[in-house]
Symmetry: D2
Subunit: 362 residues, 4 copies
Amino acid sequence: MGSSFGDLFRVSTFGESHGGSVGVIVEGCPPRLEIDLEKIQEELDRRRPGQSKITTPRKELDQVEILSGIANRETLGTPIAMIVRNRDQRPSDYKEMKNIFRPSHADGTYHLKYGIQAPSGGGRASARETIGRVAAGAIAKQLLQKVQNTQILAWVKRIHNIEAEIDINTIGFADIESNIVRCPNQDVAKLMIQRIEEISRDGDSCGGLIECVVRNVPAGLGMPVFDKLEADLSKALMSLPATKGFEVGSGFRGTFLKGSEHNDAFIAGDKNRLRTATNNSGGIQGGISNGEPIILRVGFKPTATIRKDQQTIDSEGKQITLASKGRHDPCVLPRAVPMVEAMVSIVLADHLLRQRGQCSLW
Amino acid sequence: MGSSFGDLFRVSTFGESHGGSVGVIVEGCPPRLEIDLEKIQEELDRRRPGQSKITTPRKELDQVEILSGIANRETLGTPIAMIVRNRDQRPSDYKEMKNIFRPSHADGTYHLKYGIQAPSGGGRASARETIGRVAAGAIAKQLLQKVQNTQILAWVKRIHNIEAEIDINTIGFADIESNIVRCPNQDVAKLMIQRIEEISRDGDSCGGLIECVVRNVPAGLGMPVFDKLEADLSKALMSLPATKGFEVGSGFRGTFLKGSEHNDAFIAGDKNRLRTATNNSGGIQGGISNGEPIILRVGFKPTATIRKDQQTIDSEGKQITLASKGRHDPCVLPRAVPMVEAMVSIVLADHLLRQRGQCSLW
Amino acid sequence: MGSSFGDLFRVSTFGESHGGSVGVIVEGCPPRLEIDLEKIQEELDRRRPGQSKITTPRKELDQVEILSGIANRETLGTPIAMIVRNRDQRPSDYKEMKNIFRPSHADGTYHLKYGIQAPSGGGRASARETIGRVAAGAIAKQLLQKVQNTQILAWVKRIHNIEAEIDINTIGFADIESNIVRCPNQDVAKLMIQRIEEISRDGDSCGGLIECVVRNVPAGLGMPVFDKLEADLSKALMSLPATKGFEVGSGFRGTFLKGSEHNDAFIAGDKNRLRTATNNSGGIQGGISNGEPIILRVGFKPTATIRKDQQTIDSEGKQITLASKGRHDPCVLPRAVPMVEAMVSIVLADHLLRQRGQCSLW
Amino acid sequence: MGSSFGDLFRVSTFGESHGGSVGVIVEGCPPRLEIDLEKIQEELDRRRPGQSKITTPRKELDQVEILSGIANRETLGTPIAMIVRNRDQRPSDYKEMKNIFRPSHADGTYHLKYGIQAPSGGGRASARETIGRVAAGAIAKQLLQKVQNTQILAWVKRIHNIEAEIDINTIGFADIESNIVRCPNQDVAKLMIQRIEEISRDGDSCGGLIECVVRNVPAGLGMPVFDKLEADLSKALMSLPATKGFEVGSGFRGTFLKGSEHNDAFIAGDKNRLRTATNNSGGIQGGISNGEPIILRVGFKPTATIRKDQQTIDSEGKQITLASKGRHDPCVLPRAVPMVEAMVSIVLADHLLRQRGQCSLW
């Protein structure tokens, strides 16, 4: 528990930021799925820090190594184990902090729960645990693409208080990847980059909002009551580090509307999916996908590590001033985009396998 | 899957709106917990429609019947089964709709997924399935109260666009239950009731926002990575009918701030919990409760059933005008308050047992 | 945990022998399966005590009541809840025993684990909890029969040291049900009945062996490594009360043979199944069903409740002589036959749903 | 599913016999448990083929590499990932067999279920997948030893039809490890080795029986109904390759006795455990451990790979004579001893954590 996610498409991650490797086992991927191995590495590259001037200078190669489950570029139907070795670490940055509880980090609660802090850089709370998720998500993406040409796209919609207008029906992967902040609105992207640089020079950090759309959704995914599709998606996304909120479809905006304004009228669809005139439902009704695009948003808080002095305590309760001199990632949002896509893919893959199992016998 | 929630404190619900009973099995509640049976009924009464002028006139007695797991007002440590019989139904209201897909209801997706619609009133998508959740939540609440005097309180913070200022540190259960809209700000509550009545007379519906605080939280609940406490809470709440969004702590507002503005500095706590100067974390850091109050918000869309004509299709794809003549609940928020408390209680009970085991609490 | 079994076809039971009802929720049964309700009652009748001179005189009607999940004799795809009310109990038989640990009963361990004994007759350890299993198994049987005309048959092969020769390829349900000891060899059945009556008059009890065959097995059920089909079957059967051992195919006898004597040579089969010249594998190879009949055996110990004086202790550790005056079931085997069939059916139904989900996408 | 075992102490294995690595993730091990790393390697060495004249000549070093979860010889409370690289393989031995279904192997069923055979040597059905289990079991053993000085000992009781008399109360690890067949009765061990060599020279194989005792069992482990301790133990053991049967306590022998002969009378124990005069229960009553030693037996069929000609078919259904020229392990029992201990340890660790929680053991 805790390090596993999913039932039929199950993902189990491991690894601290210091020590051998981080990695993942993906269980339940059906056999004979062609796997494009380069695409797995590409997703990991998207996640990696140190790619641009606005992210952490920590340089890791993050080369994925596949230990099992794939042969001749095809899945065997057996568990797929993938690892990435940890290479670059600076224990000196973290030594001083061993007994200091960094504000809004996991140090305090880990110490309370476990009686120890993992040495160096956050251990299991470190963003490096997301490597396993992204590798697993890459497999899930290819499964969904094969079955229904499903496309999962996420992007940065807002950084700090700079928000972009986006037409979710027309944007594509190239628009998102064309700048270092992963905002498909090129003009606003420039403003976002400037804001991040300002805030970074100031030794501070910022958060924002990521939006995600899923196209060609297999209809019928999700279970009534507890495993509603939006419920599993929200758990998946709220399990990412630094998240503060989740929305589906019209989100909180929709809660200001009246029923007559918010309802999505049905229009003629086909045997395999429904069509609606509007899509406030965000593609999910009664907890089940209807075939319309799924639309989600996730809010990220500003990174807790900053280069300003902060008041805090150590593990003995003593007041102390913390001046962080180490690496400083002023804004995690661009790197979180592939993480969001990965988690969404994993949830959809899991529900796909459940659907085909339980509702396809006759 | 789908109808079960939790691992060590597991809740499995059953029952459609038409047909014998709805109910729940609660598995994993430790033995020798004194149960106040009347409190279970009180929670169900809070959930029940037809209590006031602003809710559905459907009259159900919803008397809970305990079939197992409790003897002499004490838990046995065995599964606790509780049922509520369905008494009042109006099949004639629903007959006409058997093949019509009501907009923003689950009809369409259920038909797509299962090939059938449950007869009468939404089947498993009906809000009556929440009876089981609320009964189970009542057990969870008593467990948490015994272990740490934990208190879970939810209230209506906003109806349509009427929002109340609330001091979450001082409000109590009596404030919330003192009016039919469950808003602890009495002045704003009056405005809310007026708004709901207006909208109802117009045959329309509205949504809003529920807020929830948990006091005396056992620290150390939650698992790093996938079963972060806020992740499980978000899944639990987003599994309630009609939800559109979830927030923890500072929520989306916090995503507009900088790290220096958002971080919660630690101050001296004690052996069993941490203390912070501010609480943007909402009581959860690194996915684990720190002992500060947990603060959550859930957004609800306007009820899909309205008494205005709507364009839609039937199960054969034919365009049709739907004029709903049946019951009409203009606003589900007041009834959803006990549902929110129930789901939060269930998640906390589950994590408590994971942290401390099933037979070692006392 | 503990009271639930299965993943995609999940069975959760509840109920003590004293108090409201025993029952079960079956989750995951696909929709639109026609259910013969009378067959569910028939299976419960087979399980019921007091049917004949050789079993417990406790008279219960055990009428099943379906609370959800089935409408118009068809499954809805929602959880199926079934209960049976407890009517006949003799608390006076059990009062005296409240603090006495009956030898080879669960009294001692329950007290140790939970700190309490469920009042009257064994609580959750009582054989009445098997009612829920048998009802769920009846649903599973009908699912398997619809999908592949799968037939699950169990019978008593040995009582005490009286063993019957059985041709597993030719026997049928009628042979088994034609006598009260459920042994399809009529001559040996008579000897078995005599033996049970002798032992019963003596105030003692006996055990024996149940054998089970599954015909028209869907091939491909079972997962390599941990969820091998025989592993799940063994857990299911060893979870029945009073079991001491489990065998598949050639069983322990096969462990005396050499490879050349034990291997099953393949012969020509067809697209959907394999054929073997012999069947020491018992229909399962590498943990996966091959299409040949599955053959299992379960050993049951003699019933622990006897009408002879026994030395034991009470919950305070004091030595005491126990003279049981209450009901006395000298041999549980005939009643256990439907329990064995039920558990086998549940496991196969679960694996069927997993197989169709994970390996049927293309 | 399928490749994971356990709930709170969860073990997920991966790896085929050909290709990168085999390995395991152990999730849920509490933090701050001192780990003797050499003991993990010792267990793997016990499992390894090619150690003596009676086992497979395949030489693998099987050096374990720990990737996460342990630092400074202490568990972190995070998932522990361990891998062993595959070094020695002879693809030429297996090439010829790609489309031939070896009798009593998993080839046929895997082909049926998945549509492919994993290349070379059995893939996931290969005994190399047990490496992960044994490594995980080594962790579980150390956990149980720390908590209660629990000792898990298994040995070979019978090879072919040569059975040893063993006093389970007095034997120790040294007795078992003192000969290559792992039978603690030295005289019978010599006979066993002779028998295996005879059978091997003949190109044939044999099976037998492994017995296991657990001393200093924590009482109270196991859940009533479905997760009875013996049920989980039977699943764990029946999931090992080549198993045919499972017994607990008096086993099938006990099913021949009467209640007065079989019941275990209670004698005075203490607060933390029960004592019985006899132990036909094998340490488990009502599905829960009582503190008496747990006694189990597992039967293994003769290895399916032999060096005699066999009739079989290929994947197109064509009759073919298979003459296996490759490696030949005439008897798997000695190597299976550490596998049995590992699985028993894993089940007990899981139930221990359920009973006592994950963070409260010390």
